[in-house]
C-alpha cells in the first residue's frame, strides 16, 4: 500500500493534537488532513473529487459532536453519495450511547470507536485502528 491519506474530522484541539501524534508513530506512511466541522468536511471531499490531481482519503476518522453539521449528518452524506460511499468511515467519538451506535451502523459507519479520555489509552486506540485497518483489513482504492 502506498502512502495512506487520512481525513480527520474533529473540532476539539486537544483530540486533534493527540490523534496527529499517534498517527506520526505509525509504520505506514500517511498524510492527515484535518477539518474542524461537518460543512468543511463535505467541502473538502467535493473539492478533492473535482481536483485535477484528485486524491481521495483512504480512511475517514469522524467525530460526532461538531459545530454546524454533526458527524452523523456527515456520515449520511458520505454513504449516500456514490462517489464517496466506499471510503471507510470510522466514528471516533466520546459518545458510547446505544442510540448513537445504532444510528451510525444504520447509516453505514464502518465501525464505531469510543475515544478514551486517558492519554495512553487514546494512543492504544489509534494504534489499533492503524494495525487493523492498514494491516488486517483491505482498504478500497478510493481515488478514481
Amino acid at each position: 500500500m502506498n502512502e495512506i491519506q487520512i481525513l480527520l474530522v474533529e473540532d476539539n484541539e486537544g483530540d486533534i493534537v493527540l490523534t496527529l501524534e499517534a498517527l506520526k508513530e505509525m509504520k505506514v506512511k500517511n498524510t492527515v488532513t484535518v477539518v474542524k466541522d461537518g460543512v468543511e468536511a463535505i467541502e473538502f471531499l467535493k473539492n478533492q473529487i473535482q481536483a485535477v490531481d484528485c486524491t481521495m482519503p483512504n480512511l475517514i476518522l469522524l467525530d460526532i459532536n461538531m459545530p454546524k453539521l454533526n458527524g452523523i449528518e456527515v456520515l449520511e452524506f458520505i454513504k449516500k453519495d456514490e462517489k464517496f460511499r466506499k471510503i471507510p468511515v470510522v466514528m471516533l467519538t466520546t459518545s458510547s450511547s446505544q442510540a448513537d451506535i445504532s444510528a451510525c451502523y444504520d447509516k453505514y459507519a464502518n465501525c464505531f470507536i469510543t475515544k478514551p479520555l486517558d492519554f495512553g489509552k487514546f494512543m492504544d486506540v489509534v494504534e489499533a485502528i492503524e494495525s487493523f485497518w492498514f494491516t488486517t483489513a483491505q482498504l478500497p482504492k478510493t481515488t478514481p
Binding site: 446505544q98 453505514y108 486506540v125 482498504l139
Partner: protein, 144 residues
Amino acid sequence: MSEVNILLVEDNEGDIILTTEAFKDMQLENRISVVKDGEEALRFLRKQGEYEKAPTPQLVLLDINLPGIDGKQLLEIIKKDDSLKGIPVVMLTCSDTDADISDCYDKHVNWYITKPIDYDKYTKVMHEIEAFYVSFVHYPKNGR
C-alpha cells in the same frame, strides 16, 4: 463482557473448522453459528423456519463464493434491509482483487478481509479481528 453472537456464512468445510477453532480459544465469550449458503443465512437473520429462535448476531463473517445467492448479493440484501443493515458485516474471502474490494465497500461492507491460506496466519487474522472488535469497537446490542 457479554456474549457475542457471530454468524459465519461459509460453505468450505476446511475454513469452517479453521474459523470456529480460532474463535474457540478467544477471550471473548462467543457463540458461532454456521450456515452454508446465502438462503440459509437470510432465514437465520430473519428468524424464519428452523431459525425462529436464532439470536441476532453482532457480527456476520461472510464468504464471497457461496452456492446460490453469493456473498456480495447477500451483503447487498442485508445492507438494504432496514431491520438488518445495522449488523456489522465482515467479508472474509480468498479474493484480494481491487474490483471485489471496491464493490463490497460500495455495497456497505463494514470491513473486507482477505483470508490467508497459511494456517498460522489464518488463526492470527481471526485473533486480530477479535482483539480489535472486543477491545475497541462498539457494536449494536442485541434485540434491536
